[in-house]
Symmetry: D3
């Protein structure tokens, strides 16, 4: 299977360890590991490879440098409506593929995880965050529905009161706070995050492979039952991508000024 | 829409803020904001108005004086069976209406929240409690099933171990403890509760209205999936209202003596 | 009903209190209250008796001596495949029976709770653990799927991030930590555990029996909705019992050496 | 297990066949196999026996004489509210017990099946009806909610359009029509019904017992997922038993005159 | 309640019968009872009135002249994207409102029912179709997702094989065929449809109002459980309204020529 | 994408039509299109290709010669336990993959469809059967749980009464009867089956691709919600593969004699 994992732009590193652990590193540290459009496709191909890679037992995913992953790079040109639809369909496939992988996946959240980055972090089976890592759901801040993982898994992580607070406000929280409310499995001092993730991975790689695979299978049915909720949020996010709020948000970010959402302007406020 | 919100007894105040925030204040402080029978209907009409009020983007609900809301006033005359059935059907409609509202609702739990009061507090999307506010589920203490929100949302807030403990025992907990276990979104010193609620409301009112509405819509499907559970608890509560336990509880409360539930008396204990 | 609860080996004590509380004590302290094969059947008969015992209103279950219950005694001879299938079908019936009991059940987790022991502890409605009690899910450590309660109830107790971490790794946690994440209802200093459990039981026994039974009924529908997940995990566990990993794990435990799972050996690692 | 099935009034016959088939015959032909209050309890005990009877592989249930079972005998004295509650709780346990039985159950619907009788007929795994047997849901005709099986299983049998039509109107349908819409498995000329049921039973008794048990287990999870709906309908039916409509319906039946429901009288029509 | 039902354009007639039956007639026979944009809003207001109308017990809805209702009038000017979004949000509220109504609703499908018309027909509790009435789902034929009722209720009416066939192909079927597969409750010769609907309505209006309301409540939980599926289909339909396929379909209909969907042209076929 | 679909043994033919229709033909007519072990893997690869094939819009699958597909070839050597587990895991992946494909799939059931063959036929979105084609679920006849599609989709096709009858008994039914009960979309004279399938496929290939894909997406959430049931049945089938009943069944088939299931022998009948 020597052809696996060679898709790339160099922005995602994949490394095999002797014990059956595969380490994926999002590697664009100069831009806080934000994603260019081609990287979305590349990540999907990597997850598809993970699914069929018989030599890998456990996956660890982390970020190079100080960040874990800060989502789509806002410096990218605005997607056309067709590109937006295609990108979000790609996103939808990512979630489906990750849910289907039977190998345990561990995220080592070494630093900021935002949007797509947070989705990647929280869809892992086990998530280990730096105490001071900053986590931000972020979708509503750019004028779109939280459609890549929040409706699928947040209520099963932290309950509705915390879910709605953080997802509606996009307020940031630290890794330590995320652990306190159940959003991640563990939080640790930053320098221990990756070592601990690799240690847990190594332990699982030495465990009973069938028992682990079957236990994950049984637990993941809680997530397949939430597929309609997830599909709904994904469809609503696509809808928003064509809207004026998203366009204004991107423009404002590039101009480094506050967003002035058209839908929140006194005159233009749409009826509910 | 000048006719909205004018239903009343003066026991519920409704105030429009410039930024699209609507502040509802339960206003019967001399009785700790407990409800008379007409107030149940009035609250329902207010929620129905909120649903169709195009000038409101975010709702904040709080209590006047020291309490948030302490449920039905025990000093009310006992309802006849017909009144009880009607009141509980009204209650059931309240929950349905609140679930349907697409605007974010924030509860500012400034003091005690009991029974109906707790239901109102916890069915808000975002709930902000005073650290020292006392929260009590309370239904079982008066001999009836917890039928107004607990079976609908507690398992999605704090999980089954905490849910069953607090709902079966009706033990009180503070706002700070409620936040720790995930029952409310935030807890704060009492004097900061309403200001923070208004600040969050104002922030959401300036956010992307479509993104917020759609995100809430996707998340609320977790609650519509629990409608059968809720309807069941509501039906069982109605059943209990006609029973001897409820009558004794109300009598005991009026006489300020311990309740001596008929169903728990040695001789009269019914077979399970 | 004088014939109830007389099934036994002396390894399970059942004691009636005056107030309608039934105290069940797993009583094999010399082996940390681990279970012999006959004890599985005996426990099932006891739960079936609890269901039809009209004189009991609330059940408390605890362990004799220092442990709560540490699961199947590894010193037992290996079950044949037929015995394993029979034992696991027995286990499956236990869960079904416990879910069906309408009386509140309280576990007083006075010490270690492992595997079957943890299942018994967490399927109680209210669970009160010693701060320093050690809790271990444990199934994956012996090479089998977590098939007796984890897929049924952990996601409804602590969310998916904590569930997968503890269930996949079988890492131990203390009662205090279990309370912090929502796995149990309360944690207390060890010596207060049983007294508090009995006190809560006594309080519930004096409460409105119909209101409590109906409230539990409404809340338990959250668990019946998870029956497919539970049945799946149970079936997968049976599958594993016939495998080489389980045989090796039992052998290693008896020889007090590390387990060397066949499925995790480099050469023999099966394709995923 | 010689003590099984000896509970009785003589109104239910239980007969063992050599091949592991158990034939249950509701035997009160002079009253069209309608049930007295003690028979409800007796039937529950019989189903509980079926569950633990290791000598039985398949169950066939039918009626003596011309009817299958026509529900509660209206000639019984009116139950007190306590008796009504107890009877309906008994009913609820019957459904739970029947759902739990792992042996295939076949109903041979030789003649009229009404109310409880129809519930018994349709909760069987395989239902074989006489072409001209008359089936009536019947609950709404006596002023109570259809709370014993309709909300649990009709939508999974015939879909919502047929379900609501027959359950709301209580219109009768024949066995042949029931087969056409999927309400029963087969319909046949009356004289072939029991022979065919016994033949299918005998065939299943010679089949792979584990494969049959497991297949039923997997399929029955569709029903456990509907437990909240069933519990809701059962609770609502109990509510109705205390109402004026039910009292009038029973009185009218005894007086053999049309029912004049209080709730449908012009003056007394309650607000919705 | 004299102010109810007076919203109108004259295109919807509402008539009270003495027995508590309300007859709604879609009344634009010259255009086969197709809807103008204002009629969507009007119908929603009528359903909202039905919900709060205490004088109505049962609703019958039919069409004037030869058609039941043939959906949105294609002769209307194309909606702008904002109008399309608003119209579909209106549609979504219609479904929510109809599901919430506790009174039985009966559709008398006297002739063609297409799109919105079919949605109205099939969301009734009881649906009675003319044997020769033509039913067409229709959404895919105009290039949009079937987002107004099909994903909510077809699988609960006719199963997946029939659902996908008719919904994907938009092939027409007759009332008689619809009855055969379970899509409607009954089919009859055309001239008997409305009389029979009124007769069933009148019968229900004389029945036990509480028993009927509660039975409908219990059965409707099957539909609330499908709300996520419905919301998903509605969101996807909105997405399609902005697309080139919908624009081409409307243009082709106006020009009375075959549709040539851009997405199905050889060169322009989008990647899946 | 010239490398797609070239996996093979020659036992599965794949043919591209000009209009974007892909025709898959199971091609082992001398053995009634039964499958050898390598064909299971090959079919999975073909479905995986279908998922990523941008040039295909609609898939038609049929059988060469007189049969559609009659399941695993009994003339194959008995699988070892490891092979059986691997084969069933392969089967499980097939179902997952087919559910994920967004293109419409049409089965042209030209003749007998048994076991795997029936699963393939019924998991298609649209299924068109020859009036006289013989359909047999078949699993219980060989002593294993119906674990490849029945628990997933039969209750959503024909309801529980028909499901349990045909799945427990493995009785055959014709295509015409299958259509009557809703198991397939259409039935036709044999010679019209493939032409009609291709005609429907061609029509869909000219339809709005996005509308069709989204409509299927919304409808398929009904199936993802049933994943736990499916996984359960699959796990139980694996369990049975290691049992004596399956071994006896295979032996009996090879010897062309009746099966004498060990589990059904008087002495050896296991306790339930």
């Amino acid at each position: 299977m020597s052809d696996l994992y060679n898709h790339g732009t160099g922005n995602v590193l994949v490394e095999r360890h002797d014990d059956g652990v595969l380490l994926i590193t999002i590697n664009r540290p100069s831009r806080y590991n934000s994603l260019t459009l081609p990287m979305f496709e590349e990540m999907n191909r990597i997850w598809a490879d993970v699914e069929r890679d018989d030599d890998t037992r456990v996956v660890v995913i982390t970020g190079a440098g100080k960040a874990f992953c800060t989502g789509m790079d806002v410096a990218q040109p605005d997607p056309t409506p067709e590109q937006a639809l295609a990108m979000l369909e790609t996103e939808r496939k990512r979630v489906t593929t990750v849910l289907r992988i039977e190998k345990p996946i561990i995220s080592a959240i070494n630093g900021p995880a935002v949007g797509y980055g947070l989705s990647t972090a929280l869809l892992a089976d086990i998530s280990i965050a730096a105490d001071d890592a900053v986590l931000i759901e972020g979708h509503t801040k750019v004028g779109v529905t939280a459609g890549d993982h929040a409706a699928l898994i947040w209520p099963l992580l932290v309950g509705m009161a915390k879910t709605k607070y953080y997802v509606l406000t996009s307020e940031k929280l630290t890794g330590a706070e995320a652990e306190r409310i159940g959003l991640v499995s563990l939080s640790l001092p930053r320098e221990q995050v990756l070592p601990r993730a690799l240690e847990v991975a190594s332990q699982l790689a030495r465990g009973s492979q069938q028992a682990l695979r079957f236990t994950k299978r049984a637990l993941n049915t809680w997530l397949t039952n939430a597929v309609p909720q997830h599909e709904l949020s994904a469809a609503l996010e696509i809808l928003d991508f064509a809207g004026a709020d998203y366009a204004e948000a991107r423009q404002a970010f590039r101009e480094k000024r506050p967003v002035d959402f058209p839908s929140a302007r006194p005159a233009g406020a749409p009826a509910n």
